[in-house]
Structure formats: C-alpha cells, structure tokens
C-alpha cells in the first residue's frame, strides 16, 4: 500500500501509521503537550482530541456531532452513501431521539443478571481452550485463547454456530481493519457478510430460537416490527462490536501480566484484586476508539471544524490524560479512583460493558489460575491490531509454572 508515513502527528494524524499501531502512548503524550486536538487531511479531514475534557465534551455533544458513522473510512462521507460499510447499525450509529428507543430495546439482554447467567458457559469455554494447549511450554494467548472467547459468547447470544469463529473474525477484520482500502473494495469485501447475516435471519424466521436474532425479529417499537435494515444493522453491530473489542481487552491484560511479574504474583496471591486490576487494564489499555462526524461547520476550542469532518474520539487518549488521572501512565492494579472512559462517555456507553467485564474476569481468572507464572516468549513477536480497536493479536507466552 502506498501510504506516506506520518512525519508530524499534530498536523497529519493517521491511526493506521505503523508508529501509532506499535506504541501510541508516547505520541499521545507529545500531542497532549503541543496540541491537544490533532488534525489531519487524511480520510477527507479529521480531528483527534487528546484530552479527557475534550473527548468528554464531544461525546456528550450530540447537537454538534453525529454518530451516523463511527468507523473512520477512506473518504469524506456523503448523505447518500454511508461512508463505512458497516452502514447503519442501530443504536451505535443512531442519534437522539431514535437512539434511546433502539438502545432501550437491547439493554435488558446486556444487564448484569442475564450476563452473569453466562458465566458458567464462559468458564467452560476458557478452561476448554486451556486444556487444548496441552503441555506446550509456549502458548499463544492471542491466537489460541483471547480471540476465541468473545466469539463463543456472541455466537451463543446471537444464535450463530459455535464453530465459525474464523468467519466472524474475518468479518470483523474487514470492517475494522480494512479502513484504508478504497470504498468500492470495502463494499465488495462486505458482500459475503451481508449474505451470511441475511441467511441467519431467514433461518431464524423459519425456526425461532431463544436468542437475540429471534428477539430482534419479534421485537416491536411502538407497535411496529423493526425494519429489516434495523435487524440486520443491529446484528452487524453485535458481531463487530462484541468480538475484537473484548478479545483486545483480554489480550492486553495478559500482555501486561506477562511483562509485570509483580502484578501477576499479587493477583495470584489475592484474587480479590482482579476486579480493580481489570478496571485499570481497561483504563490503561482501552481498546476502543470511536468516531463522530461534525454535523455543521463549527468552531470547537479554536478548531475550525467543517461539516462531515471526522472526529476520532480517543477514549484511550482520555484514559491517559494526566490532568484527569494521577500517575496516568502507570498501571496501578489497586487504583482506588478510576473514572475511566474505556466504555465511552455519554449516551453511547458500550452496551456490552457488563458482558465484556464478565468475560475478562473469567478469562483472566482462569488463565492465571492454571498458569500462575508466565512471561512473554518473544516481546518482538507481539503484534497489535490497526484501526479503532487496539489489542495484541500474536501473543506468544512462555509458561513458567502450571497449577
């Protein structure tokens, strides 16, 4: 791909640049000091706030910023063609007032009670994955562990076969990581995803199940069944938003523990630290960056924003802002005050946050129970995803002790 490397992130920001993908945190720190809102002419024009204060202000300002599309695409969006192939995926792509209606419909399925009922399933899934690793000295905590857990959960909740993980991960990759491909290519890549989801909906119409697909088919908003495009869009959302994100969060947590034996030993000795450690991993390694579009020309803190400019809404940057967090760049697993924004801020708070936390608690808990001591097998071999979801993909771990 012929892409110019970024020389100055302040004026030519690109979140797919290899330097950002490899280690974004020093770049965030530099930008925060020099220029708290970076700009880029790439992607048709983009602004990137680095301070918690600005990320929070934009996330809460649905008058000036729309969620019409939340994944930055190759060009400027137009009214006719949604710019990202994800298309319309309610409620993440909805603005008020429809947003609240579409969201309210889905929230009960993600409340603590139904999510906690999936804990046993998750535990069996995780311990089965660890069993499969056998006695290998080196295991891949990305490829052989983290990536399978959210796929299993989402497949169960949505009502998809359990053995098609590669297919779903391929979908997610197309949507989230192919962002520097031209729009025609992305639309073409999206076609098989569309066909697959439509087939799942048709099968559920013939043979209803106790799952979210049948729930969406039966659901009504003010006495009306959902539009087929709404059902389809929400299914895309569940598959895309539920997989890469939690996979990244689990992977980043294991990556941290592999590099920090003291933190690992403390949690192994006192598992009651796990919940606060998870919140701290979510803060320090927040996987998800969202996007907004500027609704109309608008001056935000001296930045002359134009209609349809992208805003890259960096929750990971907000979570490292030293104005907002003490010792923001340190990972403190028993941090007492942690108002992190890993699940977003404002009306679009991640719908699956309870699910993500439950998966992290079980996945990390099972891993360290079975492997109380481990380290990175080869730090240079660890690779990170590019785009708006960040987490380790290749994560070779050397097991030093087994329980």
């Amino acid at each position: 791909m012929d892409k110019q490397p970024v020389l100055d992130f302040a004026t030519d920001f690109d979140h797919t640049d290899p330097a950002w993908v490899a280690d974004p945190y020093p770049i965030m720190e530099d930008l925060r000091e020099r220029c708290p809102i970076a700009h880029s002419n790439r992607y048709g024009g983009m602004w990137v706030p680095m301070l918690h204060e600005d990320v929070s202000a934009i996330a809460n300002d649905t008058d000036h910023f729309t969620s019409r599309t939340v994944v930055v695409g190759a060009g400027r969006p137009t009214e006719e063609a949604p710019p990202a192939p994800i298309g319309v995926a309610p409620p993440i792509s909805s603005d008020p007032p429809f947003h609240a209606i579409a969201r309210r419909l889905m929230l009960p399925a993600f409340a603590p009670k139904p999510v906690n009922a999936l804990e046993g399933f998750t535990r069996d899934l995780c311990s089965g994955l660890i069993d499969k690793m056998g006695d290998n000295e080196i295991v891949n905590a990305g490829v052989d562990y983290s990536q399978h857990i959210p796929v299993g959960l989402i497949a169960k909740m949505v009502g998809l076969p359990q053995d098609q993980g590669d297919l779903f991960r391929g979908f997610v990759h197309t949507i989230l990581e192919g962002i520097d491909q031209p729009m025609e290519v992305r639309m073409e890549m999206f076609a098989p995803i569309e066909a697959y989801i439509i087939k799942v909906i048709e099968e559920h119409m013939e043979n209803p199940q106790d799952d979210l697909t049948s729930f969406l088919i039966d659901a009504e908003i003010m006495g009306q069944k959902l539009e087929p495009s709404h059902i389809f869009g929400t299914m895309v959302l569940l598959i895309v938003a539920g997989i890469d994100t939690t996979w990244s969060a689990i992977g980043s947590s294991i990556w941290h523990l592999a590099k920090n034996p003291d933190d690992l030993a403390r949690i192994v000795a006192d598992p009651s630290l796990l919940p606060s450690a998870i919140e701290e991993f979510l803060r320090a390694y927040a996987p998800v960056t969202m996007a907004r579009l500027v609704k109309e020309d608008f001056d935000f803190k001296g930045c002359p924003m134009k209609k349809d400019d992208w805003i890259l809404l960096g929750f990971p940057a907000a979570n490292r802002d030293p104005e907002f967090f003490d010792r923001a760049d340190e990972v403190i697993i028993d941090r007492v005050e942690n108002r992190h924004a890993a699940f977003g801020l404002g009306i679009h708070r991640c719908m699956g946050s309870n699910l993500a936390r439950m998966e992290m608690k079980v996945a990390i808990g099972e891993f360290i129970k079975r492997f109380p001591k481990f380290e990175l097998a080869d730090p240079d071999a660890v690779t990170f995803s590019q785009g708006q979801v960040r987490g380790p993909r290749n994560l070779p771990i050397r097991i030093l002790e087994r329980a």
């Binding site: 309210r104 929230l107 009960p108 993600f110 409340a111 603590p112 009670k113 919940p275 919140e279 007492v336 005050e337 942690n338 108002r339 992190h340 924004a341 699940f343 801020l345 404002g346 009306i347 708070r349 946050s353 309870n354 936390r357």
Partner: protein, 64 residues
C-alpha cells in the same frame, strides 16, 4: 450523609453496583438504583464514596 444519584446522568457503566452491591443495584436496563437511601453508617459511607469516585459520568454524590 446520604447517596444522591442523578439518574439523568447515569449511563449504566455499572461501576457503583460492581463496587458496592449492597448500596447500589442495577435496574433491568443496567442503570443504577440506590438501595440505601437513608443515612449511611461509617462503613457504608466509605464504600459509597469509592463508588461515587469511580463513576465516569459523575452521577453520584455523597452529601447531606
């Protein structure tokens, strides 16, 4: 001292009911509900303060 929850600010991050499940609960949508509306004892006050200090939306205040 009592717990004051501004429901309009709550977005259902769930930090409060995870941290202090005897003081806060979730409604059917995942939003916070206060379980102890009266005066807090010392132990409750400490944990309610931790919950308030972890709310990303500043929806919880502890006050008279």
């Amino acid at each position: 001292m009592k717990i004051h929850l501004t429901s309009e600010k709550c977005q259902g991050h769930g930090r409060c009911y995870s941290l202090a499940s005897d003081l806060f609960d979730s409604d059917d949508l995942g939003n916070a509900v206060v379980l102890v509306t009266g005066e807090l004892n010392a132990d409750q006050l400490e944990r309610a303060t931790v919950a308030a200090n972890n709310c990303p939306e500043y929806a919880i205040e502890i006050g008279a």
